[in-house]
Subunit: 346 residues, 2 copies
Amino acid sequence: SRSINLAVIPGDGIGQEVVAEGLKVLSAVLPQDVKLETKEYDFGARRYHATGETLTDADLDALKQHDAILLGAIGDPGVPSGVLERGFLLKLRFAFDHHVNLRPSKLLPGVATPLAGQPEIDFVVVREGTEGPYTGNGGTIRKGTEHEVATEVSVNTAFGVERVVRDAFARAQARPRKKLTLVHKNNVLTFAGHLWTNVFNKVAAEYPDVTTDYIHVDAATIYLVTDPGRFDVIVTDNLFGDIITDLAAAVSGGIGVAASGNINPSREFPSMFEPVHGSAPDIAGQGKADPTATVLSVALLLRHLGHDAEAARIEDAVSADLAERGALPARSTSQIGDALAARVAG
Amino acid sequence: SRSINLAVIPGDGIGQEVVAEGLKVLSAVLPQDVKLETKEYDFGARRYHATGETLTDADLDALKQHDAILLGAIGDPGVPSGVLERGFLLKLRFAFDHHVNLRPSKLLPGVATPLAGQPEIDFVVVREGTEGPYTGNGGTIRKGTEHEVATEVSVNTAFGVERVVRDAFARAQARPRKKLTLVHKNNVLTFAGHLWTNVFNKVAAEYPDVTTDYIHVDAATIYLVTDPGRFDVIVTDNLFGDIITDLAAAVSGGIGVAASGNINPSREFPSMFEPVHGSAPDIAGQGKADPTATVLSVALLLRHLGHDAEAARIEDAVSADLAERGALPARSTSQIGDALAARVAG
Ligand SMILES: CC(C)[C@H](C(=O)O)[C@@H](O)C(=O)O
Ligand SMILES: CC(C)[C@H](C(=O)O)[C@@H](O)C(=O)O
């Protein structure tokens, strides 16, 4: 479409700084005839401290009007653990049915990895985003006593599993290697495991050109450090996806460059794009944060909205910038943003 | 005690081969006056294929008579996923209340790691073994239909969390660095997360000399590859422990050297010791398996039974053997076992 009406949520800590650079690059890459409108929202720890609110129904109604959402990072040590995660981030993912949580991992030339050698890494994790242990089901009895019992219920539906598995097969089919790996723990979590495995095998029959395999989540962490090149597309549950994508980010250049999309493929609600990293209060406000993950999240956003050429320009600019980094003196957040904006405008 | 009455479960695949070497080293290390009695049990895929049984009440009664159990590996591609895991391994852990699942990770000199550099790694994971998502709670409705719903319930009790947290604090206190890290996901799994966090903080007050911190499980996977030296003792939930200990094994020399104990500290029931690796059917019967993880599991077994000096002798022998490996031609399973037996007997 010829206009983008974007909701911008800088959030807390370095979120502010990296989002500014993401927008800088977005403005620079868009052709003259694409109108970019942005509206900033003050969600996060500041708003929570000021008002006690995380995300109201009115907020959701306002966000719904946008084509997409760009998020920096949410979180602050002054807010009790879980309040913003459940009250904002997860609430938004669930409210807008962001069932495809897309997390590409590509080790780009010039980027340091903690792994020995410089293994080839280029895979995408499709993490389910609206089910599993993230539903908030469960509870506590006899809280605070020696007889406390706390439960967490992982909820998995054929509907929810099938739609994300289908999305992953389609993505695998569109890639040169056409390989899809299911990651679960179906030998222990046998109820959810059977559902995932059966749905996966059923859909696989419709994609004979996609090679498939299955790996337990514990073994997957081993492969991610010993043979990450074996992965092309991974589809997995919400919690397993959370865990392995942090590891995937670490081995493929660190969370400074890891982008993600919380996608509703039906476009019924706006999708949200955000760096995998958090608000990093320890370095906030110092111009030390790397905006690359946010800039790459902007590329995912553009691809989701159909601006594929612009997305590719951003990705190429990032690759070129990273390849030269080793030779350059350290740059500030905005200097990296300027450099990327200059490249994409070029 | 001056006798050890050991149950031996070689199991499937390479289990047979590695257990033989574990017993070889055990016999060699024990002083003359310690009487070793062993009884072999045929649990695993072969028995399941022959009889349909995994572990009967009579089996449990027989195993109870022993001081400890040495397990090789259980599993075979011909058995449906979950049957032996739930029907044997987990059944045994639950029946014998193996609530402390102990998994040391130490990168020994001469051992290859997939990590760049040769970081110092020396930590222990204390994984809860009888609760969490491993309880088998949950179920399925409308199985096989497009309306299937499958749940998995993580069950966490103050009783179960406190006993394993106490065990971990005691272990941390006994180590030079005296540091304990709680790994959980308390910002999302808030019911279980609060229970774990509150119990951890309560017990911490009794151990003022132990330094504590908290890390989300996803972030823990990052540290395990970027800064594994930050860990001393980790205490965590059953599922998180399963995942991070495979990663820990991978970065600290691979599952060829990763040992584990399924411990009931009260000694009400026998504890079980096993390598972290599986039955590896692809290399079974070829003398290619590394028995080191099993031999180190024997050391954990001896320490559990109070034979600390012998445990240390085995660990020293393994260190010495590993340090020389790079200079030696490849050896078979039994050659490695012979070498270790010769060293401990020395
Ligand atoms: C902050 C938290 C709720 C979130 C998650 O667990 O999904 C984060 O870890 C992520 O991966 O986006
Ligand atoms: C085989 C399986 C049941 C087991 C587990 O998940 O605990 C294994 O992965 C382990 O870590 O010992």
